[in-house]
Symmetry: C2
Subunit: 161 residues, 2 copies
């Protein structure tokens, strides 16, 4: 895949095979999007006005108890087509190459993306959650659902960054 | 471990061994905290007024390019002592048992916790980042660093939830 690098990009040479714990996918995200038309970020996905949904493995449905329609939640999902070896990247929308940890690109050592979305519908028996929007392909594996909490998820001191 | 359950808690019976992709730990979090004194959440960690730092595997240091002191970032880290099989939990601070996905408990199918912190110092050569505070044990494995972005990380429509 090195041949596909853009000018200024840098890969981690001789990266070891990942040897950390294995993820357990808890379900998948059903979205209107594929590789041809997926919005570049959650803002554009919202502008498109298309909802999406989370389909949990039914075994996990009891773990939804306590969530409510209207609540914001953070979804973590696995970008299974992204690269894990890029240290410096040159996305088309930035003026100069930048380090992976300064970008929200799906290409990163652990290809987990996250979005803060709002619950629009909730079926705790089937384990299906409607959400306002999402910026990933249909079928993306889901890693976690967390309640968004102002006390935890806002930057300290000031949000004006 | 079933014997340690509190009233109302529920485990996922017959959970399969996780068979998803393996994580690649990119470094570790150095904090003042151990099992005896770790704050229960990031708010209490901030009140304690103790900074912390991220020590990247030096191979990943180039991926910090573009981050700046003062910037808020999201850290994802692996809670390696937590349980992966709890569907419903009864933390001491909540009045009734609640589903795992309605809680920020470290116990979850993928034991990834996250905090939004502010960068206080940055050594991009050594791959060391000072942060304002953190609520995990010293030595916790690090999974990801992402820039916090208002357009991505604030709930849609309203933050007044």
């Amino acid at each position: 895949m090195v041949g596909e690098l853009r000018p200024g990009e840098m890969v981690l040479a001789g990266i070891a095979e990942p040897d950390g714990p294995r993820l357990h996918f808890i379900g998948s995200i059903r979205s209107p999007w594929g590789p041809e038309d997926c919005p570049k970020n959650i803002g554009r996905a919202r502008e498109a006005g298309m909802g999406a949904r989370v389909e949990l493995d039914p075994a996990f449905a009891p773990a939804l108890a306590g969530l409510t329609v209207g609540q914001p939640v953070i979804l973590l999902y696995w970008m299974d087509r992204a690269r894990r070896d890029l240290l410096v990247q040159a996305p088309r929308h930035v003026e100069a190459p930048r380090g992976t940890f300064a970008l929200r690109s799906p290409n990163r050592p652990n290809t987990i993306s996250q979005a803060t979305v709002r619950i629009t519908t909730l079926d705790p028996v089937q384990g299906v959650i409607g959400i306002d929007a999402i910026d990933c392909f249909d079928g993306t594996p889901l890693v976690d659902i967390k309640p968004w909490l102002e006390t935890v998820d806002m930057p300290p001191d000031s949000a004006a960054d």
